[in-house]
Amino acid sequence: MTMLFERGALISLPARELALTTPPTSVFPLEALEAASLSPTPRDALNLVASCAPPDRPRLIVARPEMFTHGASLDWLNDAIGGVLDHVALSDGETVRLVPGLRNHVYFYGLGHSGHLDALERLERRAPELLTQLHSQVNTALAFRWKGRRFAPLTQAIMGDPSALDAAPELRPLAVDRPSPEDGVALALAAPPAAPAGFERLHYLRLSESALHDETVARRVTMLVADALGDPRRIVVWVLPVGADHEAGRVGALVQCLIAGGGRLPRGLMPNVFFASADLAAERLAGLAARRSLITDDLADFSRAAPEFLEAFAAVRVYARPGRHMPAQFHELMHMVYGPQTEIDWLRPGAEPAMRP
């Protein structure tokens, strides 16, 4: 099987991720970062990208690609990387650093984290031509604009080894308290774990932090929850977003989403709306309900989702920001990842999709 980075990969990370590390040299083997304290998301992104280079080819980290502008420094870099042709920039949206002469790819990992998309949009506004030179983008199908034209670097979809799933993440009921959201969060966190089973329909919400802050997503989700609330045939399981450090913050993001969505939800613990700290295993999903639909968004990370997990859903809806992606390319990516049953909801305000029976 041809690997994506056949001749090896030169990988860069945002400088602040390496701030607590002392690189041994300006270009060094990936293994030197094993003991480094990197945040989990870039660490995961790094491993994902590295897995696309054959193990017998160099997998190198470049601490500061911006050093190698031209001339003697660039010559030295080319000697040091020994035939590697591909540079993968792991980016948090603040910048993208290119290495002249190499094929430059970007992985906007963690785009679903609050602020990352804003940072990328600022970068696009300030230096759009930078993005025109990308050979490919990993796990995104973002469209950019330059001089009135839309363009999208080629999409490379990389699925990694499924993350070691929390064997049995607990399900706790969610609680919304509009006047005091923190009370709702506290109530939810203090509730005993539940063991729901045997429903007819499961709505599985797997949304990024960024999506939770989107007004249109909030309205969609609140409508869904309001509609399902108290219906004994339906269960909503909502996976906490990656992003905030602590669980209360992550639960708070769900609660704020529901408040922003405007739904008049009763106070107190909800009987059939639960949150989980991590994805459930496929078998557990099967035990929850016979028919299962996944609701996710364009920036939610799918790279570590197990095939059997994804296959557990008969219907998939992806909330997508209009204008942010190249439509056909994005469709292809979503269908490739989530399956042919995937439906894209382009989040045009007011165009509320009909709820499936």
Partner: protein
């Protein structure tokens, strides 16, 4: 009959700074180089308000922006005269405003707000980058202070490539420094290298401090005199050293240009471990006094240092130590000294003026 000299307006906004470092000093050198050439009729303005040449001259002689502020304020209090829209207008830094003159050029010093945003505050990044694309588009020429800056600029904005021109600066020590140094009390600080480094992470002072723990560095017999403020981040590093190691690094705090000149003139070489520089004028300052440079193999260092020093991987303590031992050898210094002088001699007022004169003349 000789042809009329082309006219050129220079925006002197950078000279408004109260304290002149970096860009104001570059602007001073640029204006002086153009004056020395006698090949252009210079006029001055700030944000399209014309300023009298006498006011600019006085400001240049004073080396501080105070007088220019007064001149600008006074021009604005009266009915401000606008700059002549016809001659080309040169900004020695970025254009602070949208202008609509027929021929404009601005100067890019470095792209670190784009490539190293973590080293700048968000306001700074916005101020530099929010209008950069528009600025480049409305420029007829884009001057870059080094090949490295030009390479970084065309990597980010390839469509600008054809407009770019190099604008390298030069060292201009005050004419009396050489005599003052000769007549000053002899400096007996022992063997030392002078170091450019501050608490900013990109200045990479940490590399030197980590290297102090290595036996090779001990063997070099050298002390290190860091020009500039010390700061608490550096204290944290120093705390991790032994007392003997700590004694080998001295921080000058703020020093005048003359004290800096003295320290360079009496040093064995300049150490410049910065991760990234748009130009790195300290390299030329050292080489102008015959001192070789030990610097990072990064960005503008190779083109500025040339054969006048040694380059090392700024992340590798071992590579640094090896090169340090080499340059600490007096025989190697004697070999490098003439090359340092020769390398500095390539950076002259004429070389700085030439690309601007060519552009002003429409070439």
């Amino acid at each position: 009959m000789s042809a009329a000299r082309p006219k050129l307006t220079v925006d002197v906004g950078p000279l408004l700074d109260d304290v002149w470092t970096g860009i104001p000093v570059f602007t001073r050198r640029l204006i002086r180089a153009l004056q020395i050439s006698e090949a252009v009729d210079l006029d001055f303005g700030c944000d399209l308000v014309r300023l009298p040449a006498a006011a600019v001259e006085r400001t240049l002689r004073q080396n501080a922006g105070a007088y220019l502020h007064e001149a600008l304020a006074s021009a604005l209090r009266a009915t401000p005269e606008r700059v002549d829209p016809d001659p080309p207008l040169l900004y020695p830094s970025n254009k602070a405003m949208r202008t609509h003159l027929r021929r404009e050029a601005s100067t890019v010093h470095d792209l670190s707000t784009l490539t190293m945003p973590e080293n700048h505050d968000a306001g700074n990044v916005a101020a530099h980058l929010d209008f950069l694309e528009e600025e480049l588009e409305t420029d007829e020429a884009v001057f870059c202070i080094s090949q490295a800056t030009r390479a970084a600029l065309v990597t980010a904005f390839p469509s600008v490539t054809a407009k770019t021109r190099l604008l390298p600066q030069y060292v201009d020590w005050p004419a009396d420094f050489q005599a003052m140094e000769r007549n000053a009390p002899r400096l007996k600080l022992g063997r030392y290298a002078i170091v450019v480094g501050t608490v900013e992470p990109r200045k990479n002072l940490g590399l030197l401090l980590r290297a102090l723990a290595l036996p090779e560095v001990e063997k070099s017999g050298l002390d290190f005199v860091v020009v500039g403020k010390r700061g608490w981040l550096v204290d944290a590093f120093l705390d991790s050293l032994t007392p003997q190691q700590r004694q080998r690094v001295r921080f000058t705090g703020f020093v005048t240009e003359f004290v800096k000149y003295r320290l360079i003139a009496n040093a064995e070489f300049l150490l410049f471990p910065s991760l990234y520089e748009g130009f790195g004028i300290p390299s030329l300052e050292a080489m102008s006094l015959g001192k070789p440079v030990l610097a990072s193999r990064s960005s503008s260092f190779p083109e500025v240092v040339g054969e006048g020093g040694l380059l090392f991987d700024p992340f590798s303590v071992e590579d640094f130590a090896q090169n340090l031992l080499e340059i600490a050898d007096p025989r190697r210094q004697r070999e490098l000294a003439p090359m340092a002088h020769a390398q500095n001699a390539r950076f002259t007022p004429a070389r700085m003026a030439a690309p601007v004169l060519a552009w002003a003349a429409g070439r």
